[in-house]
């Protein structure tokens, strides 16, 4: 990114090739609309290009890139969708605490498992889904997720735990 800030277009092409897929999937699975994901993907890179001369090496480029994308996602979610409430979290905990006899064990096909995971991700609250995606899609650790989402590491860990529990619940249905 520093090389691109000094006028090296090839450096930008390398950066883009390295992060394009993971960034796009993070955006697509966060907003769940292809057109919106395209728009935010282009807007994210546009902001990267505009900030090329102000860029300082204070964190990983991936963290900075995902931070930009996350902010765009937050803005978009605030415009189109309310935040998830606490009732949904309580419902997850009740399901997790249910007896084993009430949770039917089923052997699901791999296709069905992927479909359920997809739907479970869509049903997650935005903060939990973002933390889960940043961990699973982009491989960020707790501190990096905390930096991207601008919350504490413990908050990130809690969000990840809630997200994991809901996904498991969906698999158990």
């Amino acid at each position: 990114m520093l090389a691109y800030g000094h006028g090296d277009v090839r450096a930008f092409e390398v950066l883009y090739a390295r992060h394009r897929a993971t960034l796009f999937r993070f955006l697509l699975r966060s907003c769940r609309e292809r057109a919106t994901a395209d728009e935010m993907f282009q807007e994210t890179w546009s902001r990267v290009i505009a900030a090329r001369e102000r860029y300082r090496v204070e964190a990983k480029f991936t963290t900075w890139l995902l931070q930009i994308a996350h902010n765009l996602l937050i803005d978009q979610m605030r415009r189109h969708r309310p935040q998830a409430g606490a009732e949904e979290t309580e419902e997850v905990f009740r399901t997790l605490d249910a007896p084993e006899s009430e949770q039917p064990e089923r052997v699901l096909s791999e296709f069905e498992q992927r479909r359920r995971l997809q739907r479970a991700l869509e049903d997650l609250p935005d903060e939990q889904r973002t933390a889960f995606l940043l961990r699973m899609e982009n491989g960020l650790g707790l501190d990096e997720i905390a930096a991207v989402t601008e919350v504490g590491a413990e908050t990130v860990k809690s969000r990840l735990r809630y997200a994991f529990a809901k996904i498991r619940t969906r698999f158990a249905e």
Partner: protein, 290 residues
């Protein structure tokens, strides 16, 4: 309790990045990627950011496409050529028309032009105040002094200018005066007027004078006409009202002959002086106009 422990272990594996069932399942999800169009847009954006002159070129290109210079120049030149051709055609037509008019004017003599401008007025102008009786209805009679004057005037008329009764400037009146002199000398006109009967002017002499001034701009000509009317009235008066037919009676009444009028010569003599004054006034006014 074992299920919860299994979940905790799997969650710890998720945090540590170790391979887990959920991570494997997640990797099997569809791996969506941006399409080539989106990649091109982002890369183009990065290139334009480093080369602003490319942006200016791309912004000016549509402007050039919108208004091609050669097309504007060609259109202007075509318009100028067309306007010049139309102007040339119009100028040629005007020149031809002017030449035709000049030829027509050159072939026409100036005297003819004057005659043409005057002759239509001649036919309408000499209308006396009192319509004279139609000459075709006059019965044969012995020639009198008034008839002699009329015949003299008509014999000399072709030599006179054709428009004596029309309102004219002073030069024209002078011409008329000369024509009247040619028709009949002033003394002859005065004698004829003296011989005419005064009853030809039944109204007051002042009224007759004003009517003569208003309707007859040429006093000399008016004198001839008045003399002719008086001669007709004299003729009718000599015949007497009882001998006239209906048409002649109407003409006599229009000329001022009264029904009960006899051949009172004394009365005629009295009025003769009045008619002489009218004729003298007419001659005087003709002289003044001349």
């Amino acid at each position: 309790m074992s299920h919860k422990d299994a979940d905790d272990r799997e969650f710890d594996a998720l945090l540590s990045g170790a391979d887990s069932e959920l991570a494997r399942l997640y990797r099997k999800l569809p791996q969506a990627e941006p399409d080539a169009k989106l990649d091109a847009a982002v890369l183009s954006m990065a290139h334009r950011a480093l080369n602003p002159h490319l942006v200016a070129a791309t912004q000016q290109a549509p402007r050039r496409r919108r208004a091609p210079t050669w097309l504007v120049g060609f259109g202007t030149a075509a318009g100028v050529v067309m306007a010049a051709g139309v102007a040339w055609q119009m100028r040629a037509g005007l020149e031809q028309q002017a030449a035709t008019e000049a030829l027509r004017q050159a072939s026409t003599p100036g005297s003819m032009a004057e005659v043409v401008s005057v002759s239509p007025i001649l036919r309408d102008a000499p209308r006396p105040a009192a319509a004279p009786p139609p000459p075709a209805l006059e019965p044969p009679r012995a020639p009198s002094a008034a008839d002699k004057a009329n015949s003299t005037a008509s014999a000399m008329a072709p030599a006179a200018p054709p428009a004596p009764a029309k309102p004219k400037p002073v030069d024209a009146l002078k011409n008329d005066k000369r024509a009247m002199d040619m028709i009949a000398p002033r003394e002859e006109v005065q004698s004829l007027a003296r011989n005419a009967q005064p009853d030809a002017f039944p109204q007051a002499p002042v009224e007759a004078e004003s009517r003569a001034k208003a309707q007859a701009p040429s006093p000399a000509k008016e004198a001839v006409v008045v003399t002719g009317q008086r001669a007709d009235a004299q003729r009718l008066r000599e015949r007497g009202m009882d001998d006239l037919n209906s048409v002649e009676r109407k003409s006599a009444l229009a000329a001022g002959v009264r029904r009960d009028e006899g051949y009172a010569l004394e009365k005629d003599k009295k009025q003769e002086s009045a008619s002489g004054r009218v004729s003298a006034k007419a001659v005087a006014s003709a002289d003044a106009a001349a």
